[in-house]
């Protein structure tokens, strides 16, 4: 028996010493780390990413957008001040708005040395058009009739009808970006590509699946070689692994990923900033984080407007933004915040009002029997499932918080955490009741997000179950081809009103991109899209 006691005592002692050592360590490591950083001082960014960069084919949607944004470029760029030249230095639009003529830059080469010219543009756009089904969310893909080479550096895009967001959609990270035609497989990109040679400021040099990917500066970049010479994307699980890696200096950069997931929670970020080695940069509000309801799932209560409205009323957005998100995001009451184009529409404000939510449910026939916890109607339980991204700690907390307040009004909410890819898959197959999502950011809102209401891979399941679905789709069709600003305004107002009244998109907060970067990294800015960062503008001081 003595030996057992001795072992127990030893064990306790061991645990205690570890605890003590840990707290002592953290003090030490701070100093060590500073030295480390001083030693490093090399112009290199290593960023942590929860996911691999995946297939970098720019005409597909599986790749990581920040990575694709470094390697590939589009004809034009979407900036705060509107559309600006990028690979095309100028363009003309015909009177009827059907023919776009682009004059390309002459000093651009693909990473493999191939010249970037009208022929390459034609081949790339045709490669995208050959796979039209995949690109149905981007309405331009259904409007392009032909691409013609006028001369070596002039290319003509002919549309079947006027389509006002053409330039905006051409400016997106994908699919209308350019990869060297030498990489094409069987004359296209549908079956995959042989290499990833774009025209962008960085070249993909090494990729180990699920480990890391290295990008090196493109010395021949037409805009001048970027100052940060090497960028590595390192796959690390979100949360404390990333936090530790940042503390140790294994990675030195982290940002909100393209699915809107922060890899660190707010407190951890603040702790890093307090340590003095890091800075926290937050963009302007860029998107709306929301819960998307599947209105087409007719066997589930979520297909009822009243239920969706009740959920809307029972979310305490103020507590979510102030306590769970520590004041880093602002409350959202509409699908698009009023500063988004065409979105300054007068809509009924639904605040946090549990009594109102109960009332709506009672009216809709969902009654609470004595002693029951869940409301029922015709023997059906008022029960739903909410899916969240398991990599996002704030989504889980929000989900639990909403679950608790819905329980209070007699709605049973089951919350399920899944990988972001699986959630995206659920969204496109319609296999969900409710799920966390976000609008696509300033460059895409409202036109692309709204166009996506009709796209099967995006929000078709969300919108197709509402009463006025046909009217909604007709209006979306109209707004995309209308040339008159006033008509467009009133059509957008109608569209937003329909989805607002039906409460299929339940807004929670206005989100932004957060970047954690070394203190001496300057020039951190944001693009209009929330999915990539302009790494080429950053430099170490």
């Amino acid at each position: 028996m003595f030996s057992k006691k001795f072992i127990l005592a030893a064990l306790v002692f061991w645990v205690l010493s570890i605890l003590v050592a840990c707290s002592a360590n953290s003090a030490n490591s701070d100093n060590e780390k500073k030295e480390d950083n001083d030693n490093k001082q090399k112009a290199e960014i290593v960023y942590a990413s929860a996911k691999d960069i995946n297939d970098m084919n720019p005409h597909f949607y599986t790749g990581s957008m920040p990575a694709q944004g470094m390697v590939y470029e589009s004809l034009v760029e979407n900036t705060e001040d509107g559309i600006k030249p990028l690979l095309a230095k100028s363009w003309e639009i015909s009177e009827d708005g059907r023919v776009y003529t682009f004059h390309l830059r002459k000093d651009v080469k693909f990473h493999d040395g191939e010249p970037f010219n009208a022929e390459a543009v034609k081949k790339n756009i045709e490669a995208v058009q050959n796979n039209a089904e995949k690109h149905s969310w981007i309405k331009l893909s259904t409007k392009i009739e032909s691409v013609n080479v006028v001369d070596e550096y002039t290319v003509e895009l002919v549309l079947s009808e006027t389509y006002y967001p053409t330039l905006v959609e051409l400016s997106m990270t994908r699919p209308y970006v350019f990869i060297s035609p030498k990489d094409f497989m069987n004359g296209g990109t549908k079956a995959g590509v042989e290499g990833f040679h774009g025209t962008g400021p960085y070249i993909l040099t090494e990729h180990k699946t699920d480990q890391y990917a290295t990008f090196e500066a493109n010395e021949d970049y037409w805009g001048g070689s970027p100052k940060v010479k090497k960028i590595t994307s390192k796959v690390l699980p979100a949360g404390e692994t990333t936090f530790l890696a940042l503390k140790k200096g294994e990675v030195n950069f982290a940002f909100t990923d393209d699915r809107g997931t922060d890899s660190l929670d707010v407190e951890a970020m603040n702790q890093l900033v307090d340590s003095g080695d890091y800075q926290l940069v937050r963009s302007e509000p860029m998107n709306t984080k929301m819960i998307v309801a599947n209105s087409s799932k007719s066997d589930n209560p979520v297909s009822e407007t009243a239920v969706r409205e009740a959920i809307w009323y029972s979310i305490d957005r103020k507590t979510i933004t102030e306590d769970i998100l520590s004041g880093t995001e602002t409350v959202a009451y509409t699908l698009f915040s009023p500063n988004v184009n065409y979105a300054d529409v007068d809509l009924k404000k639904r605040g946090y009002d549990l009594e109102k939510a109960k009332e709506i449910l009672e009216e809709a026939g969902w009654t609470l029997e004595d002693g029951d916890e869940v409301r029922t109607k015709d023997g059906n339980k008022l029960a739903m499932k909410l899916y969240y991204d398991s990599n996002s700690s704030s989504q889980k907390t929000q989900a639990e918080f909403i679950q608790a307040s819905l329980k209070g009004i007699g709605i049973q909410l089951e919350i399920i955490g899944e990988e972001s890819t699986s959630i995206a898959n659920r969204r496109s197959t319609g296999d969900y009741d409710l799920l966390f999502n976000q609008t696509w950011g300033l460059a895409y809102d409202p036109q692309s997000t709204i166009a996506a209401f009709t796209s099967k891979v995006s929000y078709l399941h969300t919108t197709s179950g509402i009463a006025k679905a046909d009217e909604l789709y007709k209006k979306i069709e109209q707004v995309m081809v209308s040339t008159d600003e006033e008509t467009r305004k009133s059509l957008y107002a109608d569209i937003l009103k329909i989805v607002h009244d039906e409460a299929v998109f339940i807004p929670i907060s206005n989100g932004s991109i957060t970047v954690i970067a070394p203190k001496n990294l300057k020039g951190i800015s944001f693009k209009q899209t929330q999915f990539e960062l302009p790494f080429e503008q950053m430099f170490f001081e």
Binding site: M1, E240, S390, E400, A404
Partner: protein, 298 residues
């Protein structure tokens, strides 16, 4: 009776039994013991430290950690016990069948066991959870499906050992039915073996179920479970490390208690082991005397 007498002499065993019994009672009557509703969200108390009203403080949603620990006993300990009981039952029935009847029955059951045992336990559990979906129930089903084979094999060996003894042969010769022999002559003698092997696997099962909940495969939110509480605390591991303490210690204490009990049970049930274990310490004359006394008492 002898078992209890032996056990009560072992201090560690007494403490373990007390801990286990208290845990089980508190778990069974969780609503009486828990000071608050474990799922009551109160955001104003987010990450509050311990107070008289909330003895262990509050978690990321302002829920009472003590109440969650208490409610967590149910999935973490009680349901594990149920799963264990069922798999031991299945294992025992099959073990007795194959150990007693031998021949074809034995060969068939043992080949099935071989198949089950040829897969690593964790992989099998993950596969079953993958097929049936996540959730506590499915994990328990997976446990039962994975564990019975091991119990069946160990119990079979123990049965075989006794079924060869003279008095069993005599019973057979005098025409007593097989069922009665098993019930009257085999169950009582093998029971101690069963008790030891099952108590020794409780610890690992509790750890496994906490592990699966930690991975998010077990019980689903908002229900409390120790593994899941650890996972929730993990997210703020470096900002609020104290949140790991309560669920972590709960697991450590209960698992240790079960392991110590299983050790003690083994010694108590098998006096030979008691002696052999004591032998290296017989240097001091007092202990020798004690053991001699014990031997006399037996």
């Amino acid at each position: 009776m002898r078992i209890f007498k032996n056990l009560s002499k072992d201090k560690l065993a007494t403490i373990s039994v007390t801990v286990i019994v208290v845990t089980i009672i508190v778990g069974l009557f969780a609503p009486f013991f828990a000071p608050h509703d474990p799922n009551q969200v109160n955001m104003s108390l987010r990450y509050a430290s311990s107070s008289w009203e909330y003895l262990l403080g509050n978690d990321h949603l302002g829920r009472c950690i003590l109440s969650r620990i208490i409610y967590g006993i149910r999935p973490s300990v009680l349901w594990v016990l149920v799963a264990l009981f069922i798999s031991v039952l299945i294992g025992a029935v099959l073990g007795f069948l194959s150990g007693y009847f031998r021949g074809k029955v034995d060969a068939f059951i043992m080949r099935v066991c071989d198949i089950m045992l040829s897969f690593p336990g964790y992989v099998m559990t993950l596969a079953i959870v993958g097929i049936l979906g996540v959730g506590l129930g499915n994990i328990l089903i997976a446990f039962i499906l994975v564990k019975w084979a091991w119990f069946a094999r160990v119990i079979r060996t123990s049965v075989m050992q006794y079924s060869e003894l003279e008095y069993v042969k005599f019973s057979k010769a005098s025409g007593i039915s097989d069922l009665k022999i098993i019930y009257k002559h085999l169950v009582p003698v093998t029971f101690s073996d069963i008790a030891v092997i099952s108590s020794s696997s409780i610890g690992s099962m509790i750890l496994q179920i906490s592990g699966f909940s930690f991975l998010g495969l077990g019980i689903q939110a908002p229900n409390a479970e120790w593994g899941m509480m650890l996972n929730e605390a993990r997210e703020v591991m470096f900002t609020r490390p104290e949140l790991m303490l309560a669920p972590g210690l709960a697991i450590v204490i209960v698992v240790s208690a079960f392991n110590f009990l299983s050790d003690a049970l083994q010694v108590a049930l098998d006096p030979k082991l008691l002696n052999s274990k004591k032998r290296p310490q017989q240097k001091s004359p007092t202990t020798t005397v004690k053991i001699q006394k014990k031997e006399v008492a037996h």
